[in-house]
Every structure is written in structure tokens, then in C-alpha cells.
Symmetry: C2
DNA sequence: ACATAATGTAAAATAAACTATACATGAAGT
DNA sequence: ACTTCATGTATAGTTTATTTTACATTATGT
């Protein structure tokens, strides 16, 4: 257990960003689709390394994709 | 194995920031001293959650403390 | 009706992060 | 000389992230 305190906007970004599919994003960042599924579902938070690669892929600063605690963004 | 691609400025920050000791920082962010030691040594990269808590403690954006690949900062 | 592609879900196995414990070293103070 | 404190190092154990495999569902196209 131990609830996951980190949220993200991955799902939204996949659609805004070239309509990426889960599998395509997974390939781009070098993980399996299951990992993307789990992240979108909020099952756990990624490693910092993976978070960086995802941010890289979307060309966004990490903190615009991932946030600690409640989402405070627009 | 699997080399760690994420670096950080934790050690420097401990000194710039109130001369925090490893143990004090560990307490503030809720991990053991061993974790801080490992991070400073670059043995592995933290979870995203821990990275956020550390950034919080130093009152800095996460990406000013942690960087992917080579350090490109000043 | 059939095939294909995207997604959801689930569970067992491996890898990586993190803890707990323990001991060693060097510096600083008394 | 002794104590205390910060740090270094090591290793076994637990927890969490990630992989692998597998099957189900819904939508789209032919």
C-alpha cells in the first residue's frame, strides 16, 4: 500500500501531442505499455529517470507533467 | 547494474542551505541517511516522489537539483 | 462475420529503490 | 586520551517500479 502522491498529465498529453498511443509512448521512452497504463491510472509514480524521459518526449519541463500532491494546474 | 543517468546537486545544496547534515536532510524528507548517502554518491536515482520532497525542502524547482545525463548547469 | 488496433485488467517474476543494522574513519572539543 | 558527530562503506532484507504474458472489450474497416 502507501498511496501514490504523485499525479501526472500523461493521458492528456498523449492526445494533445500527436495523438500518441500508449504503445508508441512506451516505445519512445523505452518502457512497456503496462508501465504507461499504470502511470496513467496512478498506480505508482515513475522513477525520476523515466519521468525525465517522458518530459523529454513531450518537450515539456518535468513539473508541467508531474505534480506532487493535489493537482494545482489549470 | 544499469547505470544511473540522473545526477543531482544535493551535496552542494546541503551546505548552501543551512549547512544541513545528511541525517537532518534525511529526517526532513522522510528517508534514512543511507538513502541520502546513496543519492549523493549517485548509486541510484530517487523515486519521483522523493525527488519532489527534496526539491520542496530546498525550495527549488526539481530540475534545478536533478538533471538527466550530463550536468549542463553552471 | 472477420480482422486489426487501442485500451483495460490481472498476476507472477525481476529489478531497482529504500531500510535497518553495523562498523570504521577523521575532525573537533574537552 | 576520550567522546561526540558527520561521513563512508557494506550487506541482507523489504517495498515499489517495471516486465512479461495473457486474455477481455470496444471501435473501425473490409
Amino acid at each position: 500500500m502507501g498511496k501514490n502522491l504523485v499525479g501526472n498529465h500523461i493521458r492528456k498529453l498523449r492526445f494533445n501531442h500527436d495523438e500518441l498511443t500508449q504503445q508508441q509512448l512506451a516505445d519512445k521512452v523505452g518502457v512497456t505499455r503496462q508501465t504507461i497504463v499504470a502511470l496513467e491510472k496512478g498506480n505508482y509514480s515513475p522513477s525520476l529517470e523515466l519521468a525525465f524521459r517522458i518530459a523529454h518526449t513531450f518537450n515539456l519541463p518535468l513539473e508541467e507533467i508531474f505534480y506532487y500532491g493535489e493537482d494545482t494546474k489549470q
